[in-house]
Symmetry: C2
Subunit: 373 residues, 2 copies
């Protein structure tokens, strides 16, 4: 007998965790649009438009800007697998879960990893990168712009200058920053970045927007010809042949997810990046003010606190999992648990994309107040 | 100024090419359902159900049956990257584009590839595999069940017996067969397979269902501990920790695509596999009969002709691209062009999933008749 399950009918959830965030209604609607073939001229136009919108969202003119057909982690692996050849040196700056992930993935591709670590929640200063590169030169320096595990925002001022002075490439994880906090790839001198669609872009997970500077693109092109990236699916030169004018088949791109990303990026363009960043900031400040009134303390000091994801210290004596369970079951609200050393120590509250709305903050604060009183 | 593009409004297309096929209306509707978090208990139940449905569709009891978060090519890479360690030997049987792809991807992961080739459109006999393995033993033998580039269906009778007698594992590409033609993983002794959602399952592209036997799973578990699969994103042991009872975060699975796959697989279960295979067969025969009446000839002899994708010889003197263009522009129908040595020689007509309906065949035959008359 074939298995039999009921019609899809999930409970309503207000997604205020580390991602996915709530998908914008216009994006949900776009996804019920019937598909075009992956070589249909109309579909290729939609791809071009999606790439142009991504360049705007990333604030870059990088030709090599496209969505990898996987989630944000696929984007991380695509960037590292293409930039690094076996035994190439990478300096990974880790002060959270995703910094550690960079090391883990780089090792898979045979890179020689040097890692500088700081306590979770802290950020790196250019002088620290400078000192590390003096001690051990590297081809690539990898930093996390918005560390989803800690809620810290890494400042980029002066960073590319130091990295480039040492002849290295700057790789930036922008999964939880793209479309939510100021990010200016070209102005900041970022050489390669990857992100996800399910955070501040208000789309479902499934695509990883990446962008690669001409300088980093040349490094990829000049790889040892006998040592192609060890993941064929993520080979950016092959992907560029489909996303570029040649239109050579590589894999069957997901029309549905492209529809979603195009619509999500159109919404960013309609709102305007500056206004969008300001909205994320304002709603975060509203949250922080409300937390303060309830004697709840953000884990990260204000100076380096990320507006899109706030880590909140769990008050002593409070069962954090029970609070999350009650938020979910009584109010339909999802917030996240702490990861790694922050497990049990913090809640993670995301205000990203369509989830970043004042009424959501009001509801969360009200619900938390009722549960904690 | 931010770029500005109009609302999504693609032309209506009847997708009768090599994929994507038409997405079933119930699947389209499922995708506009708001998301759950990737650790929400309700979402985890939906994942369990999706995996159970996939086991039914694959006709297997393999515990390690899950959708990889990428397209069919991601599935191919996931299976090869996990089963093969550098310098491991693989015998690739290639009589088409995707046979060659198996070689290309295996080489990326450092495997030692032996390839036996036959002219495009032909299939392999167990004795040929036997002879090849006698000459050059291999850890893995890779075959394409339904070769999308040629329209040939590889018989599996006696195949696993030969492969296992030589101590090898049988890997089968089922991208264009799963849910459309008889496929019985356990009965046939297939050790590992990968497929896609955008063919006979009637879903959009974006997930790659894979299934791995206990025997092949043990090979993965017993890899040299210092040589993990070179693609972290595709590491099946890590994926199994999220899809299995441990529920350890690996990447943010696409809720939308899971909704789609669950609904597509529910539709398979409702119809019943036997009935579904019979429907695909009947509509293909209706097409073949109609082609014959128009003096159009399938490229592959009936005995090994694939019901889900038919390659049709382009009559002499006919501009094949012009015919495809007119089908698209005047009738809203997409069919595919030939690939590789079949470029310009054949059209590729897919009757897969929701696209496999009698009225679609009638329309295509009518349109072709008008254009070719």
């Amino acid at each position: 007998m074939p298995p039999s399950y009921p019609e899809l009918n999930p409970s309503t959830r207000l997604l205020l965790g580390p991602g996915p965030s709530a998908v914008h209604p216009r994006v949900l609607r776009a996804m019920s649009t019937p598909l075009l073939g992956y070589m249909d001229p109309e579909f290729l136009t939609l791809l071009d438009e999606t790439q142009a919108l991504l360049r705007y969202v990333f604030q870059t003119s990088n030709a090599l800007t496209l969505p990898v057909s996987g989630t944000g982690m696929a984007g991380m692996e695509a960037i590292l697998a293409n930039l690094l050849e076996p035994d190439d040196k990478i300096l990974v700056c880790a002060a959270g879960y995703f910094g550690n992930r960079l090391e883990e993935v780089a090792l898979r591709h045979g890179a020689a990893v040097t890692k500088i670590e700081k306590p979770w929640g802290e950020v790196f200063a250019p002088q620290e990168i400078d000192a590390a590169l003096k001690q051990s030169p590297a081809k690539v320096v990898a930093l996390v712009h918005a560390e989803t595990s800690t809620g810290a925002l890494q400042p980029l001022e002066g960073m590319a200058e130091v990295v480039h002075r040492h002849g290295a490439l700057l790789v930036l994880d922008t999964v939880t920053s793209l479309g939510g906090v100021p990010l200016k790839l070209d102005e900041w001198g970022v050489d390669a970045t990857y992100s996800g669609t399910q955070k501040c872009l208000g789309c479902p997970p499934g695509l990883a927007p990446v962008s690669v500077s001409d300088r980093a693109g040349a490094v990829i092109r000049n790889r040892n010809a006998s040592r192609k990236p060890s993941a064929w699916y993520f080979d950016l030169e092959l992907l560029a042949k489909y996303y570029g004018p040649e239109r050579v088949y590589h894999h069957t791109v997901s029309g549905t997810l492209i529809y979603a990303l195009r619509e999500g990026a159109r919404l960013v363009a309609e709102e305007g990046l500056e206004q969008r960043w300001a909205r994320h900031r304002a709603n975060a400040e509203y949250l922080w003010d409300g937390l303060k009134e309830m004697d709840l303390t953000p884990f990260v000091p204000l100076a380096q606190r990320l507006p899109t994801l706030t880590t909140v210290r769990v008050p002593e004596g409070v069962d954090e999992a029970k609070v999350r369970g009650r938020l979910r079951d009584e109010y339909g609200i999802e917030i996240g648990a702490g990861l790694g050393p922050l497990k049990g120590q913090v809640w993670r509250v995301g205000l990203m994309g369509y989830s970043s709305r004042k009424e959501n903050v009001t509801l969360l604060l009200g619900a938390l107040g009722e549960i904690l009183k």
